[in-house]
Structure formats: structure tokens, C-alpha cells
């Protein structure tokens, strides 16, 4: 299914961070989602979750397509992350701020994609800040500072198209000017 020359972005992050919603929000076409009833502790939080990937696309002004992939949130499907990020322009990490330890979640996904991030940028969208105010964006920057990285961190609502546009736009700026 993947063409190595395709222009693509990958949304990753923990369960319930809003990856499927983000792709649905920004995609021009009805997204392809591979959802199933979760079988582990996720079942208590969500009735269904992505098990292979989500897929959407955005038609660009020159007629080309920007392919949007979402990774599964359950950690047992982490191998999909490495497959999906091959040839991607960059990574959008969504972190659910109402999870028990969102800073650890961020750390986890940055470590998981460490090789990819040696040459490509990431942008971090913090979701559910309306539900949990802490950690703050300052805390995320402090956490990134400890890693010696300074990726942009924005508050984001995966249902808001404008918020998703800002994340992708910041990624493009990093690719061109960073």
C-alpha cells in the first residue's frame, strides 16, 4: 500500500490522545480506520481502538496528496510505528494530558521514534488540557529540555481543524527552516 515517494505524515501517541479524530478532522476523504474492541486495560477507557493504522489524505494545491497515517495507541502494536514512519516527512505526537503520566507518554513515543527523529522533526500536540490542566506546556518544555530537544508543543483539540493545521504547519516550518 505504501509508495516510498509518497508525501506523508504520521500521527502517533498514547491511547485516547485523539489520533483517529485528528486524521478524521484534517482528511479530505472519509478516513480508513482499523478499529477493534480492545482486549486489555484499554477496554475500561475506550470501546474501540486502532489496531493496525488509520489513514486519511489531504489534497494539495498542486494536485498531489498528503497521506496521513495514524499509529495504534496500544503498545503491543508499536512495531507499526516503525513501518509507518518510513519515508515520512515528520511526526506529530499527540499526548492525552488526562492520562496518569502524560510526560512519561511523551518520553516513550520520542524514545520509540528516536532513530526517525535523528533526521526528521516532531511536533507535539497536547490534548485534553481542558480536562487536566497539569502538566502545563511549561512542564512539557522542561521535560524536553532534559532530553536536550526543543520540539514545538501546542495545546490541541483533535476535533478542531485549525489546531491540526497549526501542528502540520509548524512541522513544515521546521522542515524548511529548522
Amino acid at each position: 500500500m505504501q509508495d516510498k515517494t509518497q508525501i506523508k505524515l504520521v500521527f502517533t501517541g498514547s491511547v485516547g490522545a485523539g489520533k483517529t479524530t485528528a486524521i478524521t478532522t484534517i482528511s479530505d476523504v472519509p478516513p480508513i480506520v482499523t478499529e477493534a474492541r480492545p482486549s486489555d486495560d484499554v477496554a475500561s477507557r475506550k470501546s474501540s481502538t486502532t489496531v493496525a493504522m488509520d489513514y486519511g489524505q489531504l489534497m494539495l494545491e498542486d494536485g498531489a496528496k498528503l497521506h496521513l497515517y495514524g499509529t495504534p495507541g496500544q503498545r503491543r502494536f508499536d512495531f507499526m510505528c516503525h513501518i509507518l514512519t518510513q519515508g515520512a516527512l515528520g511526526l506529530i505526537v499527540l499526548v492525552n494530558n488526562s492520562n496518569p503520566d502524560p510526560l512519561e507518554d511523551l518520553d516513550y513515543y520520542l524514545n520509540l521514534n528516536a532513530d526517525f527523529l535523528k533526521n526528521r522533526p516532531a511536533v507535539i500536540g497536547v490534548t485534553h488540557l481542558d480536562v487536566a490542566e497539569s502538566p502545563t506546556l511549561e512542564d512539557y518544555y522542561a521535560s524536553l529540555g532534559e532530553r536536550g530537544e526543543i520540539w514545538p508543543v501546542f495545546r490541541a483539540d483533535a476535533r478542531e481543524r485549525e489546531d491540526m493545521v497549526v501542528l502540520i504547519d509548524a512541522l513544515m516550518s521546521l522542515l524548511e527552516y529548522g
Binding site: L66, F154, E176
Partner: protein
């Protein structure tokens, strides 16, 4: 008369000097002339009070020199009561003050300051100013209130639209330099003039926000004719009326601190939609809807207010104490989804987060005007998002033309989506 290029008009030897002194020490003063007008200058109320004063009387006062005037300090003067408490035996009673003026009418102090400057400067430039210094009118004087002629309107139009020196203003408008000086002086007295290429936060509302953050005290700020704005540094939030919020905030941002009445408060009165109060009618206690409801206030993070207050007044002038040659790096990105919504700033943030560079280098590598880089730098500096480094270091990776084209196409498409979202 040939005008000097160095300022030689000294307000201290005129009535204007007295007004400035009152503004500086906040003390009310009664001011009178033998067989002439009598007024009370009330700097705390930003007003002057008089009983039926004519334009000719004002002019007489404004042209007076200090020794022509009888001045009396009124430390406890109260414009509302015009009464004082006196002790009679064991009783304390309120009586009409011996200082009282009959039938006082309040007028804006700005009107007197304006008139006093125009009358006294007489074609001379204000001391401490230079004719070849770059200045800009940051806000139009209130021409509905202040005496003006057609020439002043032309000068205001020119000085508001560009930062130029006064010699250029005179040359470009074709008006006598003396008239330009008079107008400039009057505007400078009202705090409407920006000088040079340096952004001094203390000349704006921005300075007040910073002060509140430094001392941690909540403040109620009020501009005449606008709803109040509350600063709550302990919560790191501000509160204001939701109606016409953006327009009102813009007025606060550009206002001179002289015009903003700021008082320290202990709490912010936050109203509800249907507040009730209990009142007594005869023997009965009844509940009714509050007569003077405080509207529910909108709130936002102080960071947002600081950012917007800086961007609004920066206009390409570097923050005082900073230099274009300073090497800077962004410690964290502004939150572009809430704070900095101008997407043209994204390349600046991207470049400055990765590279340590001076501002002209940032401008060059991002293809952005230096003035815009300076505005972005100022807002980031005010929010402490920048670190200043001893030397520059560029890490920019090579981007092929094909890659650049792809990124820009995506960005352009996103710009279209954003425009459609706003239009919708």
C-alpha cells in the same frame, strides 16, 4: 523667527510646569490669579474643577508664569463632597469646606495640559528633544476635546502614519516648523509621542502588566469610556468585559500610562448573570435581582495579554536594553494555537529554536523583514522564551529545491484551509 533644532522650551517656568508637578506628586492644588480665574487641579481624578471658566480664562491661566499665580495645596481635597469633617464639642459633623468652590464643574486635565503647552511653547521645541530625532504619534489626540486647527490634523495624520523627524514633518506637510513644534510638544505632554527606535515598555500598558507580574499585586485598570480590565498576577490571568473585547484591548495596549487609572485591589468582583440581593421593606425582608449587576467577566492567561500588548506597540522597535547584534535562541515556542496566531511567524520560531543567531541573520535566513523579526523577538523576550548566548551557531540542514517546494505547497494548502475556516 528661526527655530532651534535643540529643545529650549522649559515647561517649569510656565503654568504647564505646575500641572506637571501636580501630576508627578498626585497632590491637588487650588490655583488662582488676582482678579482672575480660579481652579482646582485634581491629578488623581485626571481633572480640573472650576466654576464657569471661559476659554479666555483658560488662556490667561495657561499664559501665566508661576509668580502670577496663588497656589494652595489641598492634600485631602474631595471633589465629590467638597465637605470636610470638623469637631464641634464631642461631635464630629460634616460641613461645607472652607476651601469649597461653588458649583464646580469637572473637565479633563488633558484639555488643560494641551492648552497650557500650546500657549507656552510658542514655536519652541520641548527641552530634551531634538528636531532630527525620529518620533511617531502613537495615538491621535482626542480632537473632539482638544483645541486644534486644520494644520494640526495634517501633522497628526503624517506623524501617525510614519516614524520621522520633525524637520521632515515640516518639509513634507509644508507647515512652519514652529507649528510642528507646538503640536509635537502638546502631544508629548499627553504621552502620545514615541521616540527613536527603542520600545520602552513603561510608555505603554505593557509596562503596567510587567509591574503587576513583578510585585504580584492585582490591579484594576481603567481607561475613560472603556470597561475596566483586571490584572491578577497570582492566578496569571486577566479579566475584562467580553463585549468588544478585542477593540477595547487594542485601546488599552496603545494608551499612555498617564491615561490609565490603575489601583491595587484585593479581589476581583466577578458578577453572575442573575445575582440577587436581600433588602428590607418595612418589616419584610425581600429578595430581588441586584440593581447594579457586575457583568460576568471574560478571562484569559496573562501570557496572552503580554504577547498581544507587546506585538501591538512594538512596530519594529527593539525592546529597551536589547541589541540587534544579540545572539538569541528560542527556549520554547510560543503556543501558536492560542498565542501567536500569525502563521508568518512560524518560520521565525522554527529557525530560532534550532539556531543561535543575531536578528539580522534570522531575517536573512527566513526571508523575513527585520522589523517583523524584532517584533517577534520582543514578544518572546517579554515572555522569557529567549536565551541570549555569547556566540552564534547555525545548524540549518540543507533543503533541496524539490523539498522546499513540497513544504511550501503543503503550507499554502493549510493556509487555504485556515482562511476557509475563518470565512466559515
Amino acid at each position: 523667527m528661526t527655530q532651534s533644532l535643540e529643545g529650549d522650551f522649559n515647561p517649569a517656568v510656565h503654568f504647564l510646569g505646575l500641572l506637571k508637578k501636580a501630576l508627578a506628586d498626585g497632590l491637588a492644588r487650588r490655583c488662582s490669579m488676582t482678579d482672575g480665574p480660579q481652579i482646582v487641579i485634581a491629578p488623581r481624578q485626571m481633572a480640573y474643577y472650576s466654576a464657569s471658566i471661559t476659554a479666555a480664562d483658560v488662556r490667561t491661566l495657561c499664559l501665566a508664569q508661576p509668580f502670577d499665580l496663588q497656589i494652595e495645596a489641598l492634600p485631602n481635597w474631595n471633589p465629590d463632597a467638597e465637605q470636610e469633617t470638623i469637631q464641634v464639642g464631642r461631635m464630629r459633623i460634616r460641613a461645607k469646606s472652607s476651601h469649597a468652590l461653588a458649583g464646580l464643574e469637572a473637565k479633563p486635565l488633558a484639555e488643560l495640559l494641551w492648552q497650557a503647552t500650546i500657549c507656552a511653547s510658542n514655536g519652541r521645541l520641548l527641552q530634551g528633544c531634538r528636531a532630527n530625532e525620529t518620533v511617531r504619534l502613537k495615538q491621535w489626540p482626542d480632537v473632539s476635546l482638544l483645541a486644534h486647527n486644520q494644520s494640526y490634523l495634517r501633522i497628526a495624520q503624517f506623524m501617525h502614519s510614519s516614524s520621522v523627524d520633525l524637520l521632515t514633518v515640516a518639509a513634507q506637510t509644508g507647515l512652519p516648523l514652529a507649528e510642528v513644534y507646538d503640536f509635537h510638544n502638546a502631544c508629548a505632554t499627553l504621552g502620545l509621542i514615541e521616540r527613536g527606535n527603542v520600545l520602552e515598555p513603561e510608555e505603554y500598558f505593557l509596562g503596567l502588566i510587567q509591574k503587576s507580574l513583578r510585585d504580584g499585586l492585582a490591579r484594576r485598570c481603567a481607561l475613560p469610556g472603556l470597561p475596566p480590565l483586571f490584572l491578577a498576577p497570582a492566578e496569571r490571568r486577566y479579566y475584562c468585559c467580553q463585549a468588544d473585547k478585542q477593540a477595547n484591548l487594542a485601546m488599552y495596549f496603545s494608551a499612555s500610562p498617564n491615561d490609565i487609572q490603575a489601583e491595587v485591589i484585593t479581589h476581583i468582583e466577578q458578577g453572575g448573570d442573575d445575582e440577587e440581593e436581600t433588602i428590607q421593606i418595612g418589616r419584610m425582608l425581600v429578595r430581588r435581582k441586584k440593581e447594579n449587576q457586575v457583568p460576568r467577566l471574560a478571562s484569559g492567561p496573562l501570557e496572552e495579554l503580554l504577547w498581544n500588548a507587546t506585538v501591538n506597540v512594538s512596530r519594529g522597535r527593539l525592546l529597551a536594553g536589547k541589541r540587534c547584534e544579540d545572539v538569541v535562541r528560542l527556549k520554547r515556542w510560543p503556543d501558536f494555537s492560542r498565542l501567536a496566531q500569525d502563521r508568518r511567524l512560524l518560520p521565525l520560531a522554527a529557525f530560532m529554536s534550532v539556531n543561535a543567531a543575531d536578528l539580522p541573520t534570522v531575517a536573512k535566513h527566513t526571508g523575513t523583514a527585520l522589523t517583523q523579526v524584532i517584533d517577534f523577538h520582543n514578544a518572546c523576550a517579554v515572555l522569557d522564551y529567549l536565551e541570549y548566548l555569547p556566540e552564534g551557531r547555525l545548524h540549518q540542514r540543507a533543503v533541496s529545491e524539490q523539498e522546499r517546494k513540497t513544504y511550501r505547497t503543503i503550507s499554502k494548502t493549510l493556509g487555504g484551509i485556515r482562511a476557509a475556516e475563518h470565512a466559515g
